[in-house]
């Protein structure tokens, strides 16, 4: 009989939980608590029990009745609440804006450098740095750009003293690293460079470059193409096509200018790119004279180097039309990145 009571209890609780209307509630009340309800029937059975069980069962039955009654009352109140018209009090407006913690922004040039760096890091390239104020030797002679040579015309330079200057290219880092390290070398060197150009929408006397250098036994021009193609597809998108055209840099031979298909028009030609192709970097196989300057055996090792302008790449990537925006530091510009 004890087990029977527990069953009734569970069943009643369950049914009360699922009440949806006052009629259902009333039906339940009659079923359990009515004059001919389940509990009354059980109560009526008590006298027929053995005498020693009667007090115990009476107590249990009473408890059960109390329990079901109280649940019944609860269900009744809930039903009434549901039917009453809603009270108009303070209502939480969830459409109000949340309180955002302030978040700063990385400079777009730094983001560009980091993105490029990460791609090359995946290919085993390590970041290297060199001084911005540099000896003339590292900026020119060691890079196979002799004094009084027209090839210097492409590298107008700020001078501090006769042989001290602001580097006009990050290729200086190639020499600095190769002087200290033996192959295999895979480095990527981001940094500031300076050229005495009058500032306008496409020129700046200070800008950023990323230099890459890989020197190992058996490195080929084909590897140069491979590494750059992997980079271009990772950075500009998997459909990016690339083409190489001969060029001249004193520190590489063969030298190449590298173009990618325009990411805006997919190579069809638009107002940004003109021909459908955009020049993004210069590259080539390290010139044996450069190896000679750092004491590498040019017969044993080959290598390639490349250099790209960070501003140019950021401008292409984000569609920025004025290089000066990078250095004005207008918060309305910086907060877009």
């Amino acid at each position: 009989m004890k087990a029977e009571l527990q069953g009734i209890k569970a069943e009643a609780e369950d049914e009360l939980r699922r009440i949806g209307s006052p009629d259902e509630l009333e039906t339940l009340r009659v079923k359990y608590l009515g004059r001919k309800g389940i509990l009354s029937e059980l109560l009526a059975k008590i006298p027929s029990l053995p005498a020693e069980q009667r007090p115990e069962m009476g107590r249990l039955l009473n408890e059960l009745k109390k329990d079901i009654t109280s649940r019944y009352e609860g269900a009744k109140t809930a039903l009434l609440d549901m039917q009453r018209p809603k009270a108009v009090g303070p209502v939480q407006d969830v459409t109000l804006p949340g309180r955002r913690p302030p978040l700063g922004h990385k400079h777009p040039l730094i983001q560009t450098i980091e993105d490029i760096k990460d791609i090359f890091a995946d290919m085993g390239f390590q970041v290297a740095f060199g001084p911005e104020v540099e000896l003339e030797f590292y900026n020119f002679e060691a890079l196979n750009i002799p004094l009084d040579h027209p090839s210097r015309d492409d590298f107008d330079t700020f001078y501090l003293k006769d042989d001290v200057l602001l580097r006009s290219q990050t290729s200086t880092v190639q020499i600095r690293i190769m002087e200290k390290q033996r192959p295999p070398i895979r480095i990527i060197a981001p940094g500031k460079v300076f050229r005495p150009d009058t500032v306008d929408a496409t020129h700046s006397f200070m800008f950023h470059q990323i230099e890459g250098l890989m020197v190992e036994e058996g490195v080929t021009f084909g590897h140069l193409k491979g590494v750059l193609a992997l980079f271009a597809q990772a950075y500009f998108g998997p459909d990016t096509r690339m083409r190489f055209r001969p060029s001249f840099f004193p520190f590489t031979e063969p030298s190449a200018e590298v173009e990618i298909s325009c990411s805006l028009c997919k190579g069809k030609g638009c107002s940004t790119c003109g021909s459908g192709w955009m020049e993004i970097l210069g590259a080539g196989m390290v010139d044996p004279n450069v190896f000679k300057a750092v004491g590498y055996d040019a017969e044993k090792y080959t290598g390639f180097a490349f250099g790209m302008g960070v501003e140019r790449i950021a401008m292409l990537k984000y569609g920025i039309d004025d290089i000066r925006l990078f250095f004005e530091n207008d918060m309305r510009f910086l907060s877009q990145f």
Partner: protein, 676 residues
């Protein structure tokens, strides 16, 4: 270089439209910037890189086109009919190092007049103004062959002689463009018996130029040392068609060829008799470079499988003499006009260039190499993430600054700033020694555009002069921060930025003892500025600007600035993480508020508590500073929380109370602190 499409066709039959020709040249490394249509011709603007002076003549370009399109190259006629008259003219080359080869031809009885229309049209097509037949011919041959020529009016040359020598100090020349140039021995000149008549390789003098009245001509064709011509052209800012070519080096074998070509044309178009003798001093002969090319090397550098026959064919078409040498190599003789080729790698480039870079297979099979990120990169990256996460925006400003204020901020150097000799704007010639001035300008720039409350940082180099023998300055990476916030309590911003700096130090695991103390930098408000030292060495400064500086920069609020020696941060950062076991027993926490004299600092209190040697004191946490009602003037109330914890059991309340009492007594006796 400007190239006429029709002119080019005179030397080479190619079946390309002007645009196709432009694309072909571009693909071979001669970028065509523009194709301009003319009346019945096109003018191509071709970019010739500084290693290819041979292509500074139409013939050179024609040679390339012929090689690429496999068509035949036609060289023009250079034979002329020499007269009987001898040459009564002396030429003396004093400096044969600067002028290794000098030739002169004498042509008597010419008739100066306008050039025929075909010649005028050729010159006009590439933007040159026709002058008279003789001058036009020298220009024509220069543009055709790349070899500059000069025609003198022979009768105006004193003493019937030419001397190639260095100028003497005090000499001057008026060049044909009307410029007066004062000469020094640094400059090589062509002189007659008494005076300079031309700056060698750059420009002739006005006194001896060919005019309508000229009858007899001395035709100069020579080779000058590139660096001499370059220096002269720079010195007198006279970059001419002639100097441009000499600077890059002319073909030693082309000197006499061009002279003959011009003599023939003069005879044909201006009449006159070319003298029997030619004055030829020095030599047009050079030792020809013979370079060995091995196919294995070629394919090893390029990562390609080019056939020997293909390589041979390409080089032959470009004018190289190719003979088989050894098993799979070639012995290649370099023609005089290819002064840029002297090594095997130069030949490899030639083959690759014409073979087509885009035909070399792309190879992505690289060995795997994994290298840990460098320490600097790691620390910098983390610092940047932290600062951006806390709401600061990164800026990049110019390294070159003006000389107005910035020097006064420098925490790391008071020395005279390094200067640039050739600035682009006068006054903007200093290398910065601090980033602070630049950040104030960023604040001002934004203020002027109604962008309020700037919170920025820059992580860049500053350039500190060194006293030692090093030629290069000490390039320090500086972290500079500028913080301002709405509200009237300046301390708020001060402690906000200080908290950011301290928090960053702690996140970067900075090792060593940090000590913050008062700072009286020239530009800082003394009441609210401080410096921080790391084990006794200056790590940075932080504080509010003086009112005068705020006014000087025309700022509408006084921001808090900080500048940190980031190299020191990198050096002392520790990004390794060591796990510590979590405590097994709860801590007992007791708050305390004490009233102390204004002079007593929080650091004094911290130190005093630390020195009290309480075994179970885990940490002390400041939480409030109060001045005002109930606190006597000249005093302040500091409130803080003490955490006690034993590693092996739960502390009893009485124990914590005892320690709390001890701290109170200790602060009372050492610092005169009274419990509030």
């Amino acid at each position: 270089m400007k190239v006429s499409y029709c002119w080019l066709k005179e030397y080479c039959d190619f079946d390309l439209s002007a645009q196709e020709l432009a694309d072909t040249l571009t693909d071979a490394g001669f970028v065509v910037e523009e194709v301009n249509p003319l009346q019945d011709d096109y003018c191509l603007d071709v970019e010739v890189t500084s290693n290819r002076p041979d292509c500074l003549g139409v013939l050179g370009i024609a040679r390339e086109v012929a090689a690429i399109t496999r068509s035949k190259l036609r060289l023009p006629e250079v034979d002329y009919k020499a007269g009987k008259a001898p040459v009564d003219f002396k030429i003396h080359v004093e400096d044969s190092e600067l002028c290794p080869h000098y030739t002169a031809r004498v042509i008597r009885g010419v008739k100066i007049g306008p050039s025929p229309s075909w010649l005028q049209k050729h010159l006009e097509a590439v933007g040159l103004r026709p002058i008279n037949n003789v001058v036009d011919i020298t220009n024509f041959v220069l543009l055709e062959s790349g070899q500059p020529l000069h025609a003198f009016d022979m009768d105006k040359l004193t003493d019937k002689k030419i001397v190639v020598r260095r100028a003497v100090k005090g000499e001057a020349i008026k060049t044909i463009d009307g410029t007066r140039c004062d000469l020094t021995p640094e400059t090589l000149v062509i002189a007659d018996g008494v005076r300079p008549v031309a700056i060698a390789g750059v420009m002739g003098g006005v006194d001896t130029e060919v005019t309508e009245a000229t009858k007899n001509i001395l035709l100069e064709s020579a080779r000058f040392m590139p660096s001499t011509v370059r220096r002269a052209a720079k010195r007198f800012t006279l970059s001419t068609d002639s100097s441009y070519r000499f600077e890059r080096g002319v073909d030693p074998e082309g000197v006499d060829w061009a002279s003959r070509r011009a003599a023939r044309l003069i005879q044909e178009l201006a009449g006159g008799e070319v003298a029997r003798d030619v004055i030829d001093i020095g030599s047009g002969k050079i030792k020809k470079h013979v370079v060995t090319l091995t196919m294995s090397r070629l394919n090893a550098v390029l990562g390609a499988q080019i056939e020997p026959a293909t390589a041979k064919d390409i080089l032959s078409r470009l004018g190289f003499e190719v003979k088989a040498a050894g098993k799979e190599g070639f012995s290649v003789t370099v023609p005089g006009f290819r002064g840029d080729v002297s090594r095997e790698i130069d030949l490899i480039e030639e083959v690759a260039r014409i073979y087509g870079y885009n035909n070399i297979p792309t190879d992505t099979r690289l060995s795997i190499q994994v290298r840990p990120r460098g320490r600097y990169e790691q620390v910098e990256g983390k610092a940047r993430e932290i600062l951006v996460g806390w709401g600061l925006t990164e800026v990049i400003t110019y390294s070159i600054v003006d000389d107005t204020q910035h020097q006064r901020f420098g925490a790391f150097s008071n020395a005279q700033a390094l200067t640039i000799r050739n600035p682009i704007r006068k006054g903007e010639d200093r290398l910065r020694q601090t980033l602070m001035g630049n950040l104030l300008k960023v604040k001002k720039h934004n203020q002027d555009r109604d962008v309020p409350w700037v919170k920025v940082f820059e992580l860049s180099r500053i350039y500190l002069p060194t006293a030692g023998p090093e030629k290069l300055p000490d390039e320090k990476t500086s972290l500079c921060l500028l913080w301002e916030e709405e509200g009237v309590i300046p301390e708020r911003a001060f402690y906000a930025l200080k908290g950011i700096v301290e928090g960053m130090f702690s996140a970067l695991g900075l090792s060593g003892h940090q000590q913050w103390q008062g700072y009286s930098g020239e530009s800082f408000d003394q009441k609210m500025s401080c410096r921080v030292e790391l084990d006794g060495k200056l790590l940075g400064v932080l504080g509010e600007l003086k009112k005068e500086i705020v006014a000087e920069f025309d700022l509408n609020s006084a921001p808090i600035l900080a500048e940190i020696d980031f190299d020191a941060v990198v050096e002392r950062a520790d990004l390794t993480t060591a796990f510590r076991k979590l405590p097994l027993y709860p801590s007992a926490v007791r708050d305390m508020a004490v009233v102390v004299d204004e002079q007593v600092s929080w650091a004094d209190i911290e130190k005093c508590i630390a020195e009290s040697g309480l075994q179970y004191l885990e940490s002390v946490e400041f939480f409030d500073l109060y001045r005002g009602k109930q606190i006597p003037s000249g005093k302040k109330s500091l409130a803080f929380r003490l955490y006690f914890r034993a590693p092996d059991r739960t502390l009893r309340g009485e124990e914590a109370n005892e320690m709390h009492k001890l701290v109170e007594e200790r602060l009372g006796s050492a610092l005169g602190a009274v419990l509030r």
